[in-house]
């Protein structure tokens, strides 16, 4: 009996001591300068593999530096602001451009313009990416945001199914899109599907073509916005409601929790179209195998569209250097390695990423995305809005999911939106 109490105590003391002496498994950096990189990848993703190689090269070429990586995963977006607020030392943070802009912005970041000047990075970065990243800064010509991985929002389609259905030209208008869906149904496939995580991409793509980016930005951040009463919303509901009625959405659409639709419907080859970003071929590579014929198209112009058919949505993951960084020079050098030809080639080959530098050819799965970017007349932010409020999206996505699953019709959708957006 005595022993038990003594054991408990001994356990307490030793555990407390262990925790006291090795807080969070601190690594011994020695005399080297540390570069702390918070990645938006988890360690088991292929991107992490490529970046690990890049880091190894960096450490070999720059023996004065050592890199400490936190493979934070996508969750990095939830915690980066509070982490920086609390003074956590982070030399490079990586997340989606919308998160970096919305949660951090210039107040939280270091202007890298001087550091970048004259580096290999500045020389090799593609013009399009440079103007995209600089376009978000207040001067329009500073480097706060470093492009890491660009992406295109598009309707991906299965070319084999399109061929079987006898579709020769890609639809450019909503009416042609409906014809195209009917042909796919006739061929025995489901035309289209979407996952819950990308719900907003569909209706903002439709509405954006009519109302433009400023309106979508306002609507998606303010539920009280009168724009929610715009007739375009009712028209959108009517058109998608009609698609549901005609069976143009795969059975279960509106119910798919990411990535159910992507994996079991689109990648398995039973559904012809799926709205997503250009990271998709990489995500489903294990399921599709090599034979899958990837196609990508512009979003068809609905009636009353003010934007051209050749408008596409795009975005980019950004690297940024927060104010709490202690080693800006090291960070910029590491970024240089990440955007080097070698790393970009690896990312392209192993993860099917669109490169940020010129002179690399896209893999076959993304060839159509490349064509889109080349032929496009206008690029707009992902979902036609640089930021989106969680609360507004919570309401609109739930109603849109009900519309797609057939639980409510177009009128019901308009009613729900009117009731809940106030």
């Amino acid at each position: 009996m005595k022993n038990k109490a003594a054991k408990v105590l001994a356990m307490a003391l030793s555990a407390a001591m262990v925790l006291g002496t090795v807080p969070a498994f601190a690594e011994d950096g020695g005399d080297k300068q540390k570069v702390v990189y918070w990645a938006q990848w988890s360690e088991n993703e292929t991107q992490a593999e490529v970046l690990k190689d890049a880091i190894a090269r960096f450490e070999e070429n720059n023996p004065e530096y050592t890199v400490e990586v936190n493979w934070a995963g996508r969750e990095v977006r939830d915690i980066m602001r509070t982490s920086i607020d609390s003074g956590t030392v982070i030399d490079i943070i990586e997340s989606g451009y919308d998160r970096i802009l919305g949660q951090l912005g210039e107040d939280y970041l270091i202007d890298l313009t001087e550091y970048v000047a004259g580096t290999d990075f500045e020389a090799s970065i593609s013009e399009g990416m440079a103007s995209f990243a600089k376009g978000f800064t207040s001067t329009g010509d500073s480097w706060y945001y470093i492009p890491a991985q660009p992406f295109v929002g598009t309707i991906f389609y299965n070319k084999a199914i399109f061929r079987e259905a006898g579709i020769e030209a890609l639809p450019t208008t909503w009416a042609e899109f409906m014809d195209c869906c009917q042909k796919i149904v006739d061929a025995g496939y489901a035309p289209m599907t979407i996952d819950d995580a990308y719900m907003e991409c569909l209706y903002t793509a439709y509405l954006g073509m009519i109302m433009g980016t400023d309106s979508i930005e306002e609507m998606m951040n303010d539920s009280a916005s009168p724009l929610w009463d715009d007739p375009a919303v009712a028209q959108m509901a009517k058109d998608f409601g009609e698609m549901v009625e005609k069976g143009y959405f795969a059975e279960g659409t509106g119910s798919f929790v990411f990535p159910a639709a992507q994996n079991t419907e689109f990648a398995m080859g039973t559904t012809a179209m799926y709205y997503n970003g250009s990271w998709l071929p990489n995500e489903v590579a294990d399921i599709t195998g090599d034979e899958f014929e990837w196609g990508a198209m512009f979003f068809p112009a609905p009636e009353g569209a003010t934007e051209d058919y050749t408008t596409y949505t795009t975005g980019c993951q950004f690297y940024a250097v927060p104010k709490t960084a202690e080693n800006v020079e090291g960070a910029v050098k590491l970024i240089e390695e990440f955007t080097s030809l070698q790393t970009q080639t690896d990312l392209l080959e192993k993860c099917q990423c669109i490169p940020v530098i010129n002179g690399l050819e896209l893999p076959e799965s993304l060839a159509d995305c490349g064509t889109l970017m080349e032929t496009a007349t206008k690029a707009v932010p992902w979902c036609y809005a640089s930021t989106i409020s969680a609360e507004v999206k919570a309401v609109s996505n739930a109603s849109f999911a009900k519309l797609l699953s057939g639980e409510i019709d177009a009128d019901g959708f308009v009613q729900e939106i009117a009731d809940q957006m106030n």
Binding site: R77, D78, R81, T82, D85, S86, G96, D98, R99, L101, G102, Q103, G105, D196, A197, N221, S223, G252, G254, S255, F256, V257, F258, A260, T264, S386, T387, I388, S389, A390, E391, V392, K393, A394, V395, N397, A398, A401, K402, S405, E407, Q420, M421, N422
Partner: protein, 339 residues
């Protein structure tokens, strides 16, 4: 659900009773033999040294944050770690804004249904299993452990199991089962659709909670002397009569405890809501999820960290707990049966 909160409710009752009794018969006290309780200086130091750390922890982690949260709920606060000098007094604005917020209202609607429907199901199923286990089945220990097993599994793993397998729309357990039984209308239910997602979440939560309440009921039933049942049987009472006339009245107290524990768990409902919608959605949102999203997370990309509004939600949750506590104590007054 936080089990310690669930348990402490019962424990609290237990202890107040015990200390009430101790108040009558004075507890064992070390005295100096003069009759009165005269605590020496050294002993006072000893007591302070032993009691102090616990009290200090309590003051730091419970008392002070509680007061501060209440204060925060009346201010507009720009960032979560903003110093008090940056707070702006807002009166009741945070509360008014909360009740105008469609997502918060949806969370209230959800939590109410979770509490009522989920509670009725969980307690009924748990009681049912407890009665079976107490009726002298063979291998009682095995069945008891088996029924409690889901409660020991990590909620993240459990929720993933439900979402990715049981509710799966193509090869899921329910789909396969109902199809093979020929119950086509049930097989057609798509549990992750907006119409059923909430019910799917509730069902899996209920299944994960039954074991715990079963144990509580079982312990209550096993305290009832068996001769009561024997004499009832001699009088010709069947199983149902025995349950309604003996078992249920005699575990009323336990039932009240279970109800209180369920309430605390339901009000704090979070893990399952987060697992069933990684991004906040009106279908599954609960007040705690709403608060989490407002203050810590951002499912959105806009930088709307609203610590004051979050604090107001916290205060609301505490008020709801308080109201339900009082209601349960009023409605189910303690009645003592001598046996």
């Amino acid at each position: 659900m936080k089990a310690s909160v669930r348990i402490c409710e019962a424990q609290k009752r237990h202890n107040t009773e015990q200390f009430g009794a101790m108040g009558l018969k004075s507890p064992i006290v070390f005295t100096d033999g003069n009759g009165g309780v005269k605590v020496k200086h050294r002993e006072r130091l000893f007591m302070a040294g032993y009691l102090g750390p616990a009290v200090l922890c309590f003051l730091i982690i419970f008392a002070y944050p509680l007061i501060r949260t209440i204060l925060m709920s009346f201010f507009v606060i720009p960032g979560i770690s903003s110093p008090v000098s940056e707070w702006k007094f807002a009166g009741l604005d945070n509360y008014i804004g909360m009740f105008r917020n469609g997502v918060f209202l949806a969370s209230l609607n959800n939590i109410w249904r979770i509490w009522l429907i989920g509670g009725a199901l969980t307690l009924a199923i748990a009681l049912f299993y407890a009665v079976i286990l107490a009726s002298g089945v063979k291998g009682k220990k095995f069945w008891r452990s088996a029924i409690y097993l889901p409660n020991t599994v990590n909620a993240v793993a459990l929720a993933t199991m439900w979402l990715q397998y049981v509710f799966q729309n193509k090869f899921g357990l329910l789909k396969t089962l109902f199809t093979s039984l020929g119950w086509t209308s049930l097989a057609k239910i798509n549990w992750t659709s907006p119409k059923y997602l909430f019910w799917g979440m509730l069902l899996s939560y209920v299944f994960g909670s039954v074991g715990y309440f079963m144990l509580i009921f079982l312990a209550g039933i096993e305290r009832i002397p068996s001769d009561l049942y024997e004499s009832a049987r001699i009088d010709g009472a069947g199983a149902w009569v025995q349950f309604t006339r003996i078992t249920f009245p005699l575990i009323r107290d336990v039932f009240r405890t279970a109800l209180t524990l369920w309430t605390i768990g339901a009000v704090n409902f979070f893990t399952w809501a987060k697992m069933f919608s990684t991004r906040i959605s009106t279908i599954t949102v609960t007040p705690v999820y709403f608060l989490y999203d407002k203050v810590f997370g951002g499912s959105g990309t806009a930088s709307a960290i609203d610590a004051g509004g979050g604090a107001a939600v916290g205060v609301m949750i505490a008020v709801i707990v308080l109201i339900v506590h009082v209601a349960i104590n009023r409605l189910l007054k303690e009645e003592v049966y001598e046996y």
